[in-house]
Symmetry: C2
Subunit: 160 residues, 2 copies
């Protein structure tokens, strides 16, 4: 059974999508750091203890990438043309993510605007917030995504 | 021989650091997508051909993570307390990154400000730009980083 797709018209300001949970284990944390962010506090417990973090912590880029995983696995996966980011702002890391942390995310629709230059598409502004198992926000960002408008004849979302 | 560290005072506005090159092979591109951004246009050539990208393309988060790798391997690795990002803005993907692309980056110091709340530290605003082998800019962002000020007695950079 194919899923009913989401179009620009379905992404009303105030709508919230939920992602996760995902747990970040130490080996995945260190693998990412070796490949993309090989700094001592992302590579070993000893390196972390010698830093301002007081222990091994995840690269912020991995927290962002894990949040993307939750985004792609959330109900937003039904967006008709895929999840295509245009610009990200206010990407902030509020608390370190440590080995064994379990993350969950919320994705809010802030506002949206039809494209004048590209009929059939619009830009939807979203806010992403990622929390750890203690309820502390670890990351947030704002992301503008590119979303197709509903073609005539496409199923309404309410028909799910 | 230990490297002479870089402090807040060394990061003058207008100073430019260079990173790369790194080449992104198809297997690394698909591995990242499977783990963090499993959308059809990041997973297979066929999925890419059916999308607005017209072929397999890297997740933007991987382009950002590869740019972080170049940042950590650039001369900025000498920053005294490591490379700790506070906030990222204007993260924009200008062109898709495709299998086999070779990337290089420039990291400019835009401006800086000493911290009032945390003596001994300052915030340095940087602009990162990543280019492919054709000279096309594929990604840019602005990143505020947290940098220690020079302790009395620390070696001047010019003594390298």
């Amino acid at each position: 059974m194919s899923e009913v797709k989401l179009y620009f018209e379905d992404l009303n300001p105030g709508r919230v999508f939920h992602g996760g949970p995902v747990t970040l284990e130490a080996d995945e944390l260190v693998d990412f750091a070796r490949q993309y962010d090989p700094q001592p506090f992302h590579l070993t417990e000893a390196g972390g203890c010698a830093s301002i973090f007081g222990g091994l912590v995840a690269s912020g880029w991995q927290t962002a990438a894990l949040t993307m995983r939750m985004f792609v696995h959330s109900d937003l996966k039904r967006v008709a043309n895929g999840l295509i980011g245009l610009q990200i702002d206010k990407l902030t890391f509020h608390q370190p993510v440590r080995p064994g942390d379990t993350l969950q995310s919320e994705f809010d629709v802030l506002n949206r605007k039809r494209s004048h230059s590209k009929p059939g598409f619009g830009v939807v502004h979203t806010c992403w917030r990622t929390y750890n198992q203690h309820g502390d926000m670890v990351m947030s960002l704002e992301c503008a995504i590119w979303v197709a408008t509903r073609p005539s004849g496409a199923a309404d979302e309410v028909s799910v």
